[in-house]
């Protein structure tokens, strides 16, 4: 018996057909790649129009291939095979440099064109004074009741920012009317430089000890203070951009690289990647200059980034639209973040589970799906017609876009809050924490990266919106810079749209529009990459 069975096994088990399964699998793959492929083709097409790489000499391509592409690829390939952590570190550094450079560009536009450093400094100081007072009062929380502290702090904030008319001038006004005004770069060093070096110092203190942290912080501040003396003669940029570049790009990048090099020796070698890229680009630039190879006649160039709109495509630029987009984003973030996170927190942690809550739940999801043009109509009706604000201003545009992304912010923040494990809440309540203490000490810190990720992605949606801005009457084309919340504003997608419609000559259509799209997409990708990095960090921790 047994031997017979064995012999029938030896003949094999036969085959089971998997044809349908295989076909199904590749259909799934096709549907996965379909959208990505189509979008990629479009983007390559647009980028080709905007940058026009084929207009460059073959020698130019060859030079950069030899100095930049080949060494980078070889090193990256080697690292990918031997030391993945180092490669990750290297690409993070490059990403950080690119994103922080974009950021410094935005900050520089704001300080050069829109916000006078003195006004900025005045308001930072006006915020700092009552904040210090608040922290000092917090220390004495045992002696003073909450209400007393609250009233004192609220009064301090109000006085400091707005003053009591006729009695006490506000700190902001005092600073602005001071008889002696320091240079712009000094003011920026004292504000931006401090903002950059304080986290750097605490990061360094976390790695080593307090004294190291203090030393690193002082060093970072000194570097920012020294930048206006190095920037103009060496790189030919002004003192204000030098300070901004130093505090927004140089200090964070150096801190990240230094910190990683100290803590993760294994990954240290990854610094080669950014060094090769930067070095290769510089070497290639010098080489093509000396050899006389012409580069591509790109439409995305300094002139395009820094010019206003013009009737001729060759002179047209995106500068006011970039500034407008930045200002809109700041307004949108300031309006939608507190409201959205507040609503999410209430719905997740406080709201009773009843019919009204469920009704609100469902409708927030519905609101996220309402077409943006409807929100534009809402903004027009609410802010312009009902509240009588002038149309097309930063405030109206920002508020409309904030309404537009509010449901998305609420939904993603709720997701982040819900992902805080219930054990954490139990542990906190079990220790005798009140709801407020649990929310403040456990839930918010834990959910914050997720909330931030969701908000950045939502802002990414807002920055690309055109329809609501058209509805609220934002001007298509702007030659001057918005200087306050009530000035007219344009935005990048609106500018691109107007080039493609009202000014649709061939030159505009083939050159300025693709260039504008490339800038817009670059900004979007930068924002999304911040969100993705944050999300990865967050997932590693949990």
């Amino acid at each position: 018996m047994a031997t017979q069975d064995r012999s029938s096994y030896a003949e094999g088990f036969g085959q089971v057909s998997r044809t349908v399964g295989t076909v199904f699998r590749y259909l799934l793959l096709a549907s996965t790649l379909f959208g990505i492929a189509v979008l990629a083709i479009l983007l390559v097409y647009v980028a080709n129009d905007a940058v026009q790489p084929l207009t460059a000499d073959p020698g130019w391509h060859l030079t950069f291939f030899l100095t930049l592409v080949l060494p980078t690829l070889a090193t990256a390939g080697y690292l990918a095979a031997t030391n993945l952590e180092a490669l990750k570190f290297g690409s993070m550094t490059i990403g950080l440099i690119v994103v922080s450079l974009l950021f410094s560009g935005g900050v520089a536009i704001i300080f050069i064109e829109v916000l006078a450093p003195l006004v900025w400094f005045a308001y930072v100081l006006a915020f700092a004074v009552p904040t210090v007072l608040m922290i000092a009062l917090q220390r004495r929380s045992r002696q003073l009741s909450f209400l007393t502290r609250f009233v004192v702090v609220a009064l301090a904030f109000y006085t400091s920012l707005f003053g009591l008319p006729g009695v006490v001038p506000s700190v902001a006004a005092l600073v602005q009317s001071a008889p002696f005004v320091p240079l712009d770069w000094v003011l920026l060093t004292l504000t931006l430089g401090l903002f950059a070096s304080a986290p750097t110092a605490s990061y360094a203190a976390g790695i080593r000890d307090r004294r190291t942290g203090l030393g690193v912080g002082v060093l970072a501040l000194a570097a920012v203070a020294a930048s206006p003396f190095i920037g103009p003669p060496v790189f030919g940029i002004g003192t204000v951009p030098s300070v901004i570049l130093a505090s927004v790009t140089v200090v964070p990048t150096v801190a990240f690289v230094g910190g990683t090099a100290v803590t993760r020796e294994h990954a240290r070698i990854g610094i080669l990647v950014p060094l090769l890229i930067v070095g290769g680009a510089l070497a290639g630039e010098v080489l093509v200059d000396t050899l006389g190879y012409a580069g591509p006649q790109s439409w995305v160039d300094w002139q395009f980034l820094t010019s206003d709109h013009s009737g001729t495509a060759e002179d047209a630029g995106l500068y006011p639209a970039i500034a407008g987009s930045i200002l809109l984003m700041v307004t949108v973030a300031a309006l939608s973040f507190p409201v959205g996170v507040g609503a999410a927190l209430y719905l997740e942690e406080y709201a009773p589970d009843n019919r009204i809550t469920r009704f609100i739940d469902v409708n927030i999801s519905n609101l996220a799906g309402v077409p943006s043009v409807v929100y534009g109509l809402l903004g027009l009706g609410l802010f312009v017609t009902q509240l009588g604000r002038p149309s097309g201003t930063i405030f109206v545009g920002g508020a409309t876009l904030a309404l537009l992304i509010l449901p998305i912010v609420i939904i993603s923040s709720r997701e982040a809050i819900r992902s805080v494990p219930d054990e954490m809440r139990q542990a906190s309540y079990g220790m005798g924490a009140t709801k407020w203490q649990t929310v403040k000490n456990v839930i918010l810190p834990r959910a914050f990266p997720g909330i931030l990720t969701g908000t950045i992605l939502a802002l990414g949606r807002a920055i690309g919106e055109t329809a609501p801005l058209i509805m609220i009457g934002a001007p298509n084309v702007l030659f001057s810079f918005p200087s306050e919340l009530s000035s007219k504003v344009s935005a990048m997608p609106l500018q691109v749209y107007s080039w493609a419609s009202y000014f649709a000559t061939d030159a505009f259509y083939e050159k300025a529009v693709p260039a504008g799209v490339v800038i817009l997409v670059t900004v979007l990708l930068a924002m999304n990459s911040i969100a993705i990095v944050l999300r990865n960090r967050y997932e590693q921790e949990t």
Binding site: A427, S428, G432, V442
Partner: protein, 294 residues
Amino acid sequence: MSQENMSNDNVESATEDPTDDDMILETDVAAGLEEGSETVRTARERSIVEANGINVWYNDEQALQDITMSVPENQVTAMIGPSGCGKSTFLRCINRMNDMIDAARVEGELYLGEKNVYDPDVDPVALRRRVGMVFQKPNPFPKSIYDNVAYGLKIQDIGGNHDEIVEESLKRAALWDEVKDQLDESGLDLSGGQQQRLCIARAIAPDPEVILMDEPASALDPVATSKIEDLIDELAEDYTVIIVTHNMQQAARISDKTAVFLTGGELVEFDDTKTIFENPEHERVEDYITGKFG
């Protein structure tokens, strides 16, 4: 069949463990001396938690039926029973964690010291500040080890030298030597057993009167479990520990008193651990302990 044998063996070895018996005797003597004229027996009966007819419903389903028991001070009281018998529910009645569950309804009286915790004027948050709790799954906060231990001090606004209290609590939780150089590192980087001891340190830092433990070792390996058990033994010198456990051998090893809950939320028997394991009054308890069911 084999399961029964195994359980029997374990119970025997546990009850034969001489250290456990000595512990009980020592406590008896100490308590007797303290109380002076009172007999040893009554001194041991001095209770800190007293339940009087506690009934709990989840929606319409009754989870606890008329529980009446008194938990003696500065001893380890174990609650054992099959899954779903309501032992955890009872534990959560003591610090009113059941208030968090919308569906739960509690009736009856439960005295902590002199005060009925279900009196309308009792603030459950204030109550929980006097009762520490350790959960089944180690649940340190994603904060530094120091901040984890100091959490109770911070939220309860307890003054004094926090550094000292943190060190003292970690020492009592037998964790200090392992973490004293990494107090700034995240509590989540510790191993499971260390995390649970961190949670115990966190629970004892504000100096509670009672420590509730809800199957504190069930998610841990045997080595970590035995560390936790040693720790519970030591904690009982200063605190009243009430521990829910699935593991009868564990109850036999570490507890002075044992309460047996059986299906339906009934407290079937509550007596000295020795009596429960060697000579239970009810046949059902004996069946459960010898592994005939449950």
